[in-house]
Symmetry: C2
Subunit: 356 residues, 2 copies
Amino acid sequence: MKKEHKSALHISSGTDNPGSFDPKLLQKFRRKKHSIEEFVKGILEGDSVLLSQAITLIESNRESDQIEAEKIVAACLEHKNNSIRIGITGSPGVGKSTFIESFGKMLISKGLKVAVLAIDPSSQLSHGSILGDKTRMLELSTNPAAFVRPSPAGDALGGVARKTRETVFLCEAAGYDVIIIETVGVGQSETAVHSMVDFFLLLLLPNAGDELQGIKRGVVEMADLIAVNKSDGPALAQAKLAKAQYQNALHLFPPKNGGWIPSAELCSGLSGMGIESIWEKVEAYRKHTQENNYWQSHRAEQAKYWMHESILQHLKDMFYHHAKIKALLPEIEQALFANKISSFKAAKLLLDKFIE
Amino acid sequence: MKKEHKSALHISSGTDNPGSFDPKLLQKFRRKKHSIEEFVKGILEGDSVLLSQAITLIESNRESDQIEAEKIVAACLEHKNNSIRIGITGSPGVGKSTFIESFGKMLISKGLKVAVLAIDPSSQLSHGSILGDKTRMLELSTNPAAFVRPSPAGDALGGVARKTRETVFLCEAAGYDVIIIETVGVGQSETAVHSMVDFFLLLLLPNAGDELQGIKRGVVEMADLIAVNKSDGPALAQAKLAKAQYQNALHLFPPKNGGWIPSAELCSGLSGMGIESIWEKVEAYRKHTQENNYWQSHRAEQAKYWMHESILQHLKDMFYHHAKIKALLPEIEQALFANKISSFKAAKLLLDKFIE
């Protein structure tokens, strides 16, 4: 326990973004080289310092680190626990960190271990709007039963997604029961997060509709549950109305694949109101989908999805980073926009060049 | 005009599905070989027999036909008119053909020429649920100002999409003002149709919510307009309620990219009620998006989308049809599902094999 406590005092970060490190801590981390076996043993024993260091290897772009990381992930994969992976999204200002702090503490009080990861490929631009501020989730991040990890900053979404997904496996091997993946809800990352969690929670504000301006189209339909956050004090009446409106809207959309019918709930990350019932909903979802086997098939589908997605990304990189394609593409696009060629002829010209 | 009349008397079909042809007609079509110049000239003059034959070339899988088709499409591309492309979707039973018949006749009465195309990659399975039945849209298909063309049957969606998109260009060169692309709304084809039209119309039934069971998630958010069809007779009261519900639901979703706010309307394909106001909405959309330049940028985006989509499809085919990949994939998938390897390691193993 002592070890965990120590590591939990800082919010760890990837090697990609050394600026946000405490340099002394970095040095300490780098001082001792662990073997794969030591990493795996440590992770399985719940040693969060080693867990952190292993994640740093996953996030590293150095080839030697990646080879090590691959081996650690492979060993940890066999030790997955019965965790639930929850995606949480919502626009900036919706109160995600206060909600997660409150939600996480409630889970810990039930004897559960909680890991909080964040996906935010835009964090370099936004100067780390997610978890970048170390004062966020202060109570949770200093709790020995919690592990809080910010997003690897300034990387392409594909890379961030891979790193986050592999980090989930390590956290599961380390015994975390609830893995929360946070995303800002305004970019491309929600689809990625949705494709790696069991349950997707959308946080909204009591002024129904207004804040949706910032949410990407399609995100509402991804939600397994909508929680109207900040439903306290004078906002309560408006929040109740918002809940009813969302509830009605959700009923007009087709049920989700697992036969789960999303609903809307009121909550307050600040007062803790509704936090328990949201967890009850998550538990009900787990029961429902494990009984009808959707849970299992959904996870298998996700594993397949990420394999094919990763292949696709590589194929696209091979094609679009090819010198000949790079040289030809602007000319082809010009002809396309001038209605000189159709999209399919344009594709053919590029493909012929690529294959040649 | 006489020529058009003649061809409009049959609903043409692709060579892929010769079974649905009148064999005599097929022979007649094949008898005379036209030059590219003859085709282009005929199409530009609005000769719907030549238009039909050119589309048959687009739909053909023979290489010599494809080369000819490519040239015709290229020549026609430069002669695009000021058409509007409208996608219409809805579950089976929602009354799509009656609606399109009514909508098309209304457009013709305004002096417009109307082409109706259908995308239904499942039509071979469903025995041509879309337009396969030649008695559908009988009035429209025999009207000289209309051109009705079923989907090339039994092909992969990518192929159908390409063929439909290129058919749109020929119809535009032939002077059709409104191009309607119909899809069943239950499969993968809505996204494809949505990506090739200016305006996307979703038809629903008055019993709000019930029929949505059949609609794929995400389709509602694609709609620029929801039309509650069959809003006549005893269903009117229910239809009004449904309209209000959809209207509320639509307000809870973010506005579309062009700044257009989708709404819900009542209509009846049978009585013609509401058909005019739907056209007014379409016209308002055109005005709104042409003024803010979204119309133009959206079409350019679509051209780019289909180029990249087509490239991606080819790259995927190259990869997944590769003998080595075919041989290795089942084994890799097994290891993936058994948690022996991660999705990214699985992808890497396959890619290494492919590159080698």
